[in-house]
């Protein structure tokens, strides 16, 4: 990251602007310069998430030392201990599953430059829609209840995402801001439901719904472990996401619209349709993730249903290179960060908020490393520098 630094352009005579304007000086006279690549580098594209993950580990190392913990013990507690047994691996998959779902959906939109950042709200509304069905039919033992809940969740998330889609296509309103505002609205909606009409009458006045009954819970895959059938739903969505984005015409059109909006427009690709598709796919996936949380590890509706999966999935989507397969690996990493945070809290008395810190750091490093996709670093020796560099620059 030595290329990071204030631009040297500030110190030079203003008329001397050239390709070196964004360069940063390293160690006196030899300078590093960013040069545009003729073609984006695929290698850099795949290496940059790895570099970002490594850099995040280094930051973790420094942070743990600074907090007075033995970094090796801390590392063990954070990244190894949580997944050292079958239960840990099951938890890893359990937490990765909603992240995979949401990030695959978001990635489809991001590919088309449709910035849905309200997945957290779509998740909550999906949980409300699916969970509402479970609460409405407490006697049902029908095996159709769970599939119906998942469909309801998808529809709920899509309906919530349809609001920014409609306002963007009809009123030109920025979907980033609208979808984000709707997260707060959804949070208050869920809060109202579990404080009011859907509150468990036998719940000692806690803001929570009744526990879901047997037929409304996702079956665990293994005796004694929490990982459940939702994992298969997530993997099916990954496969569908791959086929849609890479092999279908609509997916191709969305990718074109993201890479070259002007060309897409000229080719007659409807940008409104892309906005609708991007948001509905993202919302639907987030809604399903919400049902999986409610009908899985949580087993009821609660205000704290999601530990920020909707936001963490944004990072997962980027770290996974907006590609369904990449998303799976990124989700496993992010899930490990969640587990590590919990484990660090238990074993090291470290605040679990460390997780959020690592998540943000990971994305920062990824964005920094991504510069090498479109630019290459060139070492420039003073003699060959086209512009004289003043002393001290």
């Amino acid at each position: 990251m030595s290329a990071a630094g204030p631009p040297q352009g500030a110190n030079r005579s203003p008329t001397g602007g050239s390709a070196a304007a964004n360069a940063a000086s390293v160690g006196g006279s030899i300078r590093l310069r960013l040069e545009a690549r003729p073609e984006p580098s695929r290698l850099a594209g795949w290496l940059s998430p790895l570099a970002a993950a490594l850099a995040t580990l280094v930051v973790g190392f420094v942070l743990f030392s600074w907090l007075g913990k033995n970094p090796f013990t801390a590392f063990h507690a954070f990244f190894v201990k949580p997944v050292a047994d079958a239960y840990g691996v099951s938890e890893l998959l359990l937490k990765a599953s909603p992240l995979i779902l949401i990030a695959t959906g978001l990635a489809a939109g991001y590919r088309a430059n449709v910035w849905n950042i309200g997945a957290e709200g779509q998740l909550l509304v999906g949980a409300v829609a699916g969970g509402g069905l479970a609460l409405a039919f407490p006697e049902t033992t029908s095996p159709l209840l769970l599939p119906a809940m998942i469909v309801a969740g998808a529809l709920g998330g899509m309906a919530w995402a349809a609001i920014p889609a409609f306002l963007r296509t009809r009123f030109n309103a920025n979907e980033i801001l609208v979808s984000l505002m709707l997260v707060y609205v959804a949070t208050h909606l869920l809060s109202w439901l579990v404080h009011g009409p859907w509150r468990d009458p036998e719940g000692f006045n806690f803001p929570q719904s009744r526990l879901f009954h047997e037929a409304a819970l996702l079956p665990p895959l293994f005796e004694g472990l929490r990982v459940n059938a939702g994992l298969f739903v997530a993997l099916a969505v990954v496969a569908a996401g791959y086929l849609f984005m890479q092999k279908s015409l609509a997916g191709f059109q969305m990718r074109v619209a993201g890479l070259a909006p002007a060309a897409a427009n000229y080719a007659g690709i409807s940008s409104n349709r892309n906005v609708w598709m991007g948001l509905l796919i993202g919302g639907g996936c987030a809604g399903v993730a919400g049902v999986q949380e409610a009908a899985g590890p949580v087993g009821q509706l609660l205000p704290t249903l999601s530990p920020g999966y909707g936001f963490a999935a944004i990072i997962v989507a980027f770290v996974g290179r907006l590609h369904p397969v990449g998303v799976v690996f990124a989700a496993l990493l992010m899930s490990l960060l969640y587990l590590g945070g919990e484990s660090a809290q238990l074993n090291l008395a470290l605040p679990s908020a460390v997780t959020g810190l690592f998540q943000g750091t990971l994305l920062f490093f990824l964005l920094a490393a991504d510069v090498l996709i479109h630019y290459r670093l060139r070492v420039v020796r003073p003699a060959r520098t086209p512009v004289p560099v003043p002393k001290g620059a």
Partner: protein, 306 residues
């Protein structure tokens, strides 16, 4: 009448964090940079100011710390988005997520700490005047400061050469670069100014308005400030009006409860967010106005060699 004066005072107090954050973001966007990290910068500013105020017992030192902290985290954005030309939308989002995590992490030990905050002015004699005293002489000092900042930003952008250069960089960085202005350096400063203002907005919440520290206490105000800049079609006086309008909406929930309106509190809490969405849709409907007023290079990275 006295009640009306009280309402005005409360509205100004509730709108002030939006004034700070939105004015800062306005200057950043005028230079052509879209920083979506306002919420994160506000939270970091809030936690830094509260921690320093609690440790030193001086809320004003806290305000200083909030400003510095906001500027410091905006530097991360600046390096990534300006020097490394990363996607500004993604980088701003990252800054918001990072700020939420960092502030929660740093603020843990301050969660139920009580501090002596910055109190509203009490000018002997003047503040006790009927109505006028309340309307003019009894605000929080940081409310007056926000009005001064508004005047300063307006003057800077439209009455100084430097302000003209910032706007030129936002409209056409290539031209500004060709004339010889250091585009990236100017953008760095605009981002830093936005970060400092967001930090100040957070500091106002933590050491003057509430005063306390709660995880995620900005409650989306950073995002509302971003929307405000669009409502305001990038004009400072409209930012000011919009901020107080939304300050008023935030208050509506308490007012409605005071009036004995039978409505679940959650629905009243939704109001500011729903109002933001509605106003955003109404203002954005006219795509031409938005396009003509938005800085032409907003959100586009600039590489001199390209």
């Amino acid at each position: 009448m006295d009640q009306f004066a009280q309402l005005i005072v409360l509205t100004l107090a509730a709108g002030t964090p939006l004034v700070y954050a939105a004015l800062g973001e306005l200057v950043t966007e005028k230079s052509g940079v879209l920083n979506l990290g306002v919420e994160g910068m506000m939270l970091v500013g809030a936690v830094a100011s509260f921690a320093v105020a609690a440790t030193t017992k001086s809320p004003w030192l806290g305000v200083g710390a909030g400003i510095l902290a906001g500027a410091a985290v905006s530097m991360i954005f600046a390096v990534l988005a300006l020097s490394l030309m990363s996607n500004q939308v993604a980088t701003g989002l990252a800054l918001s997520l990072f700020g939420v995590g960092l502030s929660a992490f740093l603020g843990l030990e301050y969660v139920s700490v009580v501090i002596e905050g910055i109190r509203p002015l009490a000018v002997p004699g003047l503040s006790d005047l009927p109505i006028v005293g309340k309307l003019l002489f009894a605000h929080n000092p940081l409310v007056y400061l926000s009005l001064a900042l508004f005047a300063a930003v307006h003057w800077f952008l439209y009455r100084t050469r430097a302000g003209l250069v910032v706007r030129a960089v936002g409209e056409s960085p290539q031209s500004a670069h060709a004339i010889g202005y250091p585009v990236i350096a100017i953008r760095y400063m605009a981002v830093l100014f936005g970060g400092a203002c967001s930090g100040l907005a957070g500091a106002y919440l933590a050491v003057a308005y509430t005063p306390l520290w709660v995880e995620g206490m900005t409650a989306g105000r950073g995002w509302i400030a971003l929307a405000l800049v669009v409502f305001a079609t990038w004009k400072p006086w409209r930012v000011l009006a919009g901020a107080y309008l939304f300050g008023g909406v935030t208050l509506a929930q308490f007012q409605a409860q005071a009036l004995g309106l039978e409505m679940p509190s959650q629905f009243l809490s939704m109001l500011p967010y729903v109002a933001t969405i509605v106003v955003l849709a109404i203002i954005s409907r006219d795509a031409t106005t938005i396009r003509l007023n938005a800085p032409a290079s907003l959100g586009k990275p600039f590489h001199a060699g390209a």
